[in-house]
Symmetry: C2
Subunit: 456 residues, 2 copies
C-alpha cells in the first residue's frame, strides 16, 4: 500500500490533463501582485506562496478542479494577472492558485454591453468592443494586462470613472456567472445588485466565470498634458475641466509638484517643478479645452490625437491612477502611497490643505471621478516618502481625523480595506452560498472561520 498522498499531489494525479505550473519561481511570482507598493504588505506577505498554480482553459476544467479541491479541502486563490495591490492573489494558506488568464474568450458584444469569460485581458476586451464603436466604461491604467475578473474582484474604477463613477455604481456591471466551491459545483447566473455582492471582495466569496458589463460609446480622445507654475491655478483648471458638462472627457488627473518630476518618461513635456493636469477630452472639444487652459494661465505641452495615440501605441492613460505610483516608485524606491476619497464639493479645499500640510512628505496626485451618487469629486493616490510604518499609520490617522476617507492600501484583510469594518450580511450570505467550505483564500476574511488545513 502506498503512503497517503499530499492533497496537492493527489489533485495533480487526479487531473493530469490540466495545465499545472510546477516551477517554484513561477509559482512564487504567480502568488504575488503589486502589493510591493506597500512596505507593510511586503513584510506581511513575505513567504506566502501557493503549493501549485493551475491555468484552466474551459469551464469544465474549472469545474473538475474546484470539485477536487472541495473534496480534498485544498484552498483556492483566484488570480487574474496580478495587477492588484492588496496581496489579494497571494494565498495566505497555500493550496492552489487558480490563474484565470487562460479562460478569456469574448462571448458577445451588443449595443451598450458585452460579456466575456473572466480571464480576458481588458485590452482584448476593449479591442473587441471597439469593433462595434464601443469602449470600456471604467478602465484601470493596467488594462493591458489586467483581466476583467480581476477588475471586478479587486478593482475600483479608473479611466472613465469621471463619467460612470466607480465600477460598483448600479448599471456598470450587469451580471455574472459564478461557480460554487463544492464537491458538486453549481453554476449560477447573478444579475445586478446580487452580482455586486461579489465585487471587490478579492475573490473570497465566489468564483466568477463570466462577466457582463455595460459599455460606453467610443469617442476619439485627445490626450493632453497642461502644465502650470501655480498650484491653485492648476487645480482650479482640473476642477473646471472635470465639471464642464459640454466638454466630453474620459480622464482628468492632477499632479501637484513634485509628482510630475517622477514621470521621467514624459520629462520633456513636464518642466521641472511644474504642476500638471493630464486629460483625455473628446477631440471636438479641443478649442474649448485650449481656451480653458489659457484662461487658467497654463500651457499645453503635449497633445496627441486619437489617431496618433493608436498609431504610437503609447497612451497617457498609462500614466494615471496606479500607474503614476508605479512610475514614481521606479525612480524612487523610498516612495509608497495612500488612497484617499475626498468629500464631493469640498475636494478642492481638502486637496489644497492636505498638500500644504504634508509638503515634501505626501505628494498630491488626484484623480477626478463621479461618486456612487453622481457627484464630482476626487480620489487621490498620493505618493508618500516612507520613513516608518508608525509614521505611515500616523499620516493615515491624521487624514481620517481631518475628515477624508482613507481606503488603506497597506492591509491585506478584506474588512480592513475599502470594505471598512464588518461585512454586510448579504456579502456573508454570498460567502456561505458560494464557498461553504471556506476554501477561497482562507484568512483574507477576518470574520470567516478558517477551516483547519488538512494534514498533508
Amino acid at each position: 500500500m502506498n503512503a497517503p498522498l499530499y492533497p496537492i499531489e493527489q489533485l495533480q494525479l487526479e487531473l493530469p490533463e490540466l495545465d499545472w505550473i510546477t516551477d517554484p519561481n513561477r509559482i512564487e511570482r504567480l502568488s504575488q501582485d503589486f502589493s510591493w507598493f506597500s512596505p507593510v504588505l511586503k513584510r506581511q506577505l513575505e513567504g506566502k506562496v501557493a503549493d501549485t498554480v493551475v491555468r484552466p482553459r474551459t469551464e469544465d476544467e474549472i469545474r473538475r478542479l474546484v470539485a477536487a479541491c472541495a473534496r480534498l479541502k485544498v484552498p483556492v486563490t483566484i488570480r487574474g494577472s496580478g495587477t492588484g495591490n492588496y496581496g489579494q492573489t497571494t494565498p495566505l494558506a497555500g493550496g492552489v492558485v487558480l490563474d484565470m488568464t487562460g479562460y478569456g474568450t469574448m462571448l458577445w458584444v451588443r449595443p451598450g454591453a458585452a460579456r466575456a469569460q473572466a480571464g480576458i485581458r481588458l485590452h482584448q476586451f476593449e479591442k473587441a468592443a471597439l469593433r462595434s464603436g464601443q469602449e470600456l466604461r471604467c478602465m484601470p491604467s493596467t488594462y493591458r494586462s489586467a483581466t476583467l475578473g480581476g477588475l471586478f474582484g479587486g478593482g475600483f474604477g479608473g479611466v472613465g470613472s469621471i463619467n460612470f463613477g466607480p465600477l460598483g455604481a448600479p448599471g456598470n456591471v450587469l451580471g455574472l456567472k459564478a461557480m460554487t466551491i463544492e464537491p458538486e459545483p453549481q453554476v449560477v447566473e447573478l444579475r445586478g445588485a446580487e452580482a455586486m455582492r461579489m465585487h471587490h471582495l478579492w475573490g473570497t466569496n465566489g468564483l466568477v466565470l463570466e462577466l457582463e458589463i455595460a459599455l460606453a460609446p467610443a469617442q476619439p480622445w485627445l490626450e493632453t498634458l497642461a502644465t502650470f507654475t501655480d498650484f491653485d491655478a492648476a487645480l482650479a483648471f482640473a476642477d473646471a475641466l472635470a465639471r464642464a458638462p459640454g466638454l466630453a472627457k474620459r480622464e482628468v488627473a492632477f499632479f501637484a509638484s513634485p509628482v510630475p518630476d517622477h514621470l521621467t518618461q514624459l520629462a520633456q513635456y513636464l518642466p521641472a517643478g511644474c504642476h500638471a493636469v493630464l486629460s483625455l477630452v473628446a477631440e471636438a472639444g479641443e478649442e474649448a479645452l485650449q481656451a480653458m487652459v489659457a484662461a487658467h494661465g497654463g500651457t499645453v505641452t503635449y497633445r496627441r490625437t486619437a489617431e496618433e495615440v493608436a498609431k504610437s501605441n503609447r497612451t497617457l492613460m498609462e500614466y494615471t491612477w496606479n500607474h503614476t505610483t508605479l512610475h514614481a516608485l521606479r525612480v524612487d524606491k523610498n516612495l509608497t502611497y495612500l488612497q484617499t476619497s475626498f468629500t464631493p464639493g469640498e475636494h478642492v479645499r481638502q486637496i489644497t490643505e492636505l498638500t500644504q500640510r504634508y509638503a515634501g512628505e505626501v505628494l498630491m496626485h488626484a484623480e477626478f471621478l463621479r461618486s456612487m451618487d453622481g457627484l464630482l469629486t476626487c480620489s487621490a493616490l498620493q505618493l508618500v516618502r516612507f520613513s516608518s510604518e508608525e509614521r505611515l499609520d500616523q499620516i493615515i490617522q491624521e487624514h481620517r481625523d481631518y475628515g477624508v476617507r482613507i481606503n488603506n492600501p497597506h492591509v491585506h484583510i478584506v474588512e480592513d480595506g475599502k470594505a471598512g469594518g464588518d461585512l454586510a450580511p448579504d456579502i456573508l450570505a454570498m460567502k456561505a452560498r458560494f464557498d461553504p467550505l471556506g476554501l477561497l483564500n482562507p484568512g483574507k476574511l477576518r470574520h470567516w472561520p478558517v477551516a483547519p488545513r488538512p494534514a498533508p
Copy 2:
C-alpha cells in the same frame, strides 16, 4: 415721375428673384411663435406683424436681402420655425421677417461634431448625424420642426441637457458663421466663447448663417414611464435615476399629480392622480432601472425599445420640456406656465416645498439637467392656472423671494428674460459690430436705441 415707393415695395422690386411671401394670413402666422403660451405676451404682441416675409435659399440671396434692407433701413426679424416662446420672431417694428427654413443644408458630419446652415430642422440634422452613429447633445422637444439656428438663438437645451448641461456650456457650440447687417454685409466666422455672444439673444445681435455644434455618440434609448402613488417616492426616484452615474440616460422628467392627467394621449399609461417619471435610459441599463423603480415603490407602465420607437415614430421626448406645456394647454386653455431654475443640491427640497405651497394653482413639471458648472439640478416648467396678470406676477415674485430663479417667459424684451438685467458689454459690442444700424427686430433690446422708422 412715379410716386416714391414704400421701402418694402422697393425691396421687393429690387429683388424679384427672392421667394417673397405676400399672403397676409401667412405673413401673420410667420410673425408669430408660441408666445400664446403666455396670456401676457398674447396681449402685448397682438397685431405685431411683418410687412413681408422672405424665404432665402442661398447665402447670396441672404446677402442681397440684407444689403438692401440696410440701405433702405428696413427692420429684419430672423425666424426659424417659430417654436420659441418669447415672441422672439414677432417683429415689433414691422419690416421683413427672414424665414430661414429654406436655408438648411447639412454641411458636414465628423466624429464628435457637425455643421449645417442655420435653417436646418433639428430632426433632419439628427438624421444626418445618426448615419455616423451620433446624435444631438441638446434637443428641444420641438425638434421635428425647430431649426438649428432657432435653438441657438432662442433655445436653452432640452433632452440631453442632463448630460451636457445647457447649450451655452462651453464645448457644446463650437463655432458659427454670421453676417453683418450693412449695405456691404461682412461674413465672419466666430469660434467658441465669441460665438456664444450671439446665443439666446433672439436674433437681435447677429444673423447666424451656419452653426457647428458638438455631437454625442448615439445610444439605443429605452423610453419608459414609471408611475407612483407617493409624491416623495416619485421625486426621490427621479433624482436617484438622474444622479446614478452607471445609468446612461438622455432624459429624466418629473410630473407631479395632476400634471400626468393632462397628458391625455398617454392616458392609458398614466393612472388618474398618479405622479410620473418619464425617462430615456440606455437599453443596457434596463435591469438596473427596473430595480430602481421597484425600490421606490413605482410601476413601469410604458416601455418602448429604441427599435420600437423608431418604427412607431412616436417618442416620449415629445412629452417633455415645453411639449408637456403644449399638451396641457390643449386640454385646458386656462393654463399658462413658469420657467424656474432650482439650486443644485437643494432642488428636491425646493420642488417639494413649492409644490405644496401652490397646490392646485402651480402644477409641478421638473426636468433634470446639469448646470453650466456640471451640477445636477432641475429646471421646472410648471403649469399655472391663470387667474390674472397680477397674480402671475405675484407668484413669480414669491418664487424669487423664496430663492429660486425665474426665467420669466411672460416678457418679450431680451433684458427682461433669461439675460436678466443689463446686457454684458461683450454682447453689446457684438450688436454694434453685427447690427450697427439697429435693424434686427428693433425694440427687442431695451438698451439699444431704435432707429427711427423710415417714412413710407
